[in-house]
């Protein structure tokens, strides 16, 4: 990039700021794992000693595993459905000339800018009027609506960066829509599909606001944690659990981003 040495000049102050910024960003979050190893029921300084007892105790607590399993189930189903719908929508948006396309895309992206509480409340009202009891299914529905925009936002660039004449070539060579999709389209957007699956799973797994309104008798993991927050004795266990979730989320997101980049490299052709 022809920035010229003048503009490229190092700015000490900014560098310091950037590093300080990252520290401030991560430290609060890192306190959780820190205190999860602390040999004390109280979350405060000074640290009392290293212990794994909170993790061990977590292992035997059945409600934790139930809640975890609930969250995993909901997350898996939501991510698959959201990704499928996202693929379909992204393809339609990028491949077809449709009147009112901009309005359509804005409509789909709306959940991103509306406070979650309003969605939660609105869906709660709808479901109760319809007589549908609250359960993991209702939580799943709420998550689906919230995750769809993310799926579409992840997949849209994939489809846009994908030469439409590939699909035309496939059709020209005799394959109908279905076969073209599986032989050409899907392999080429695959990294986006994986990224979307991982992202939507993570979002659903961590989602609390809507789950709060839409949960029935089976809690998701965030709901369980919320319940535990009322008991100070349980704090360290909650911290241990949170630490585990944090690490898992970090790993998932990292992997999703990495796959996204790898896919981009693969599609680059020699000039």
């Amino acid at each position: 990039m022809s920035q010229g040495t003048y503009i490229k000049r190092h700015n000490r102050a900014l560098q310091v700021y950037a590093v300080a910024f990252l520290i401030v960003l991560y430290v609060p979050v890192l306190f959780i794992p820190l205190f999860s190893f602390n040999d004390s029921v109280y979350v405060r300084f000074p640290l009392e000693g290293f212990t794994l007892q909170w993790y061990v105790e977590l292992w035997s607590r059945e409600p934790v595993w139930n809640a975890l399993w609930n969250s995993v189930r909901v997350g898996a189903v939501v991510s698959v459905i959201a990704t499928i719908l996202g693929v379909v929508a992204a393809r339609a948006i990028t491949r077809y000339r449709m009147p009112g396309k901009t309005a359509l895309v804005t409509f789909i992206m709306m959940p991103l800018v509306i406070p979650g509480i309003i969605f939660g409340v609105a869906l709660l009202v709808l479901l109760s009027r319809m007589g549908v009891p609250l359960s993991l299914y209702t939580v799943g529905l709420g998550h689906l609506i919230f995750c769809l925009p993310f799926a579409v936002a992840t997949l849209l660039p994939r489809f846009e960066g994908f030469d439409p004449s590939m699909e035309e070539a496939s059709m020209d060579l005799g394959e109908n829509g279905w076969w073209t999709f599986w032989r050409v389209t899907f392999p080429m957007v695959f990294p986006g599909v994986v990224a979307s699956l991982l992202l939507t799973f993570t979002i659903s797994f961590d989602e609390f606001i809507m789950a709060f309104f839409l949960t029935g008798t089976d809690p998701t993991l965030p709901m369980y944690i919320w319940g535990q927050l009322r008991f100070p004795q349980q704090f360290p266990s909650v911290l241990a659990l949170s630490a585990l979730i944090l690490i898992a989320s970090f790993v998932l997101v990292f992997v999703a981003q990495w796959i996204g980049r790898v896919g981009l490299d693969q599609n680059r052709e020699t000039p």
Binding site: D163, E168, M171, D172, L173, G174, N176, P187
Partner: protein, 367 residues
């Protein structure tokens, strides 16, 4: 509707994109085994027409027949037509062999047969042994040939080519042009070729349709288009040309002449005219139809004197621009440098004589 006799028949086809009309009542017939080109500048509709043949665009009006069958409700994957795309559209996630064999899946051939067909194709496109290579590691020219092989292996009745040589550099392009021509002769398939490069069209085609603004200006053989253009647009589109304003002079009967600015009155066979006396016309003469000499040629029927204004040396030929009396614009003359020619003095008073034969004149409608 009775199916037509030609192999591909396009009848009164129009195409609208919203309110924009891309194709305006186009009709043409393409014969079996013909190398047919659609020639025109960007936006003239040639690619749209090609895509309608392939089935990627539907016709707004009119009908397309291929081998007697109407194509309007036939989707692309059912048409006996294959296309080579402008950017080749080689599948990056497949290797060369899988790319070429892509369309064979539906035929469910046993593997040895499939492999044999692919190897045959690789030989045809002069890339033997490349089967295992990753498709997107190859150069532009190689990918173009793979795109060709991928289409040809299916033995289509018609091969459509959308400016396939546009991305190649000049020398490679010329080489590929010759190879394409030879290939078409060898394989005998009808080729419909889209290009904006007139030289390319003239070199390769049996017949060319010159298009502009969604219409066909003229459909003719290369010689026909070059030597006998039917309109000013076609005449100036292909090669360079001089236009002289003129008037028809007839005194009844078969004799006739044209009085053209700067050229004088030149007799022309009456059948070339077909217009009454006094009609304004345009006389067109290509630069290479003029002969230049230092003094008035004795054997030439028609000659005028001109003052040399500019000369451009192009290696194998030179372009001269001469001012003649009775005409504002200089006349462009092109002649081969047969011997060592001393640079003619520009400006100044060098007088040269231009001569031509009346048969080389093309009479066009004055516009």
């Amino acid at each position: 509707m009775t199916p037509p006799n030609a192999f591909i028949s396009i009848r009164n086809v129009s195409k609208f994109f919203g309110t924009f009309q891309a194709i305006d009542d186009v009709s043409m017939e393409i014969g079996r085994g013909e190398f047919f080109s659609l020639l025109g500048a960007s936006g003239c509709g040639k690619t749209t027409l090609l895509r309608m043949l392939a089935g990627f665009e539907s016709t707004s009006q009119g009908e397309i027949y291929i081998d007697g069958q109407p194509m309007s409700d036939v989707p692309p994957h059912h048409r006996p037509v294959n296309m080579v795309f402008q950017n080749y559209a080689i599948f990056p996630h497949l290797n060369v062999r899988d790319n070429i064999a892509y369309g064979l899946r539906k035929q469910k051939l046993p593997k040895p047969k499939r492999d044999a067909m692919v190897d045959e194709m690789l030989d045809l496109i002069k890339l033997p042994g490349y089967g295992g290579r990753k498709a997107n590691e190859l150069s532009g020219g190689q990918r173009q040939r793979i795109a060709l092989a991928r289409a040809l292996i299916l033995r289509p009745k018609v091969l459509l080519l959308d400016e396939p040589l546009g991305a190649l550099d000049k020398q490679l392009r010329e080489q590929m042009q010759l190879e394409l021509r030879a290939l078409q002769r060898q394989v005998g398939i009808t080729f419909v070729f889209v290009t904006h490069d007139q030289e390319e069209a003239l070199t390769l085609s049996d017949r060319i349709a010159v298009m502009s603004g969604g219409r066909v200006l003229q459909l003719d053989t290369p010689t026909g288009l070059y030597e006998t253009p039917k309109s000013r647009a076609v005449a100036s589109f292909i090669g360079s040309i001089n236009f002289f304003r003129g008037t028809v002079r007839r005194n009844g009967g078969t004799a006739g002449a044209v009085e053209a600015e700067g050229l004088g009155t030149v007799p022309v066979a009456a059948e070339h005219l077909g217009r009454p006396d006094g009609t304004p016309v345009l006389v067109a003469l290509r630069p290479e139809k003029f002969a230049l000499s230092a003094s008035r040629p004795a054997d030439a029927a028609h000659a005028v004197a001109g003052r040399l204004k500019t000369a451009a040396y192009l290696g194998e030929r030179s372009h001269y621009y001469l001012e003649i009396e009775g005409r504002d614009e200089p006349v462009a003359v092109s002649s081969q440098n047969l011997g060592r020619i001393a640079a003619a003095a520009e400006g100044g008073d060098t007088t040269l004589w231009l001569s031509w034969s009346p048969e080389s004149m093309v009479i066009l409608e004055a516009e």
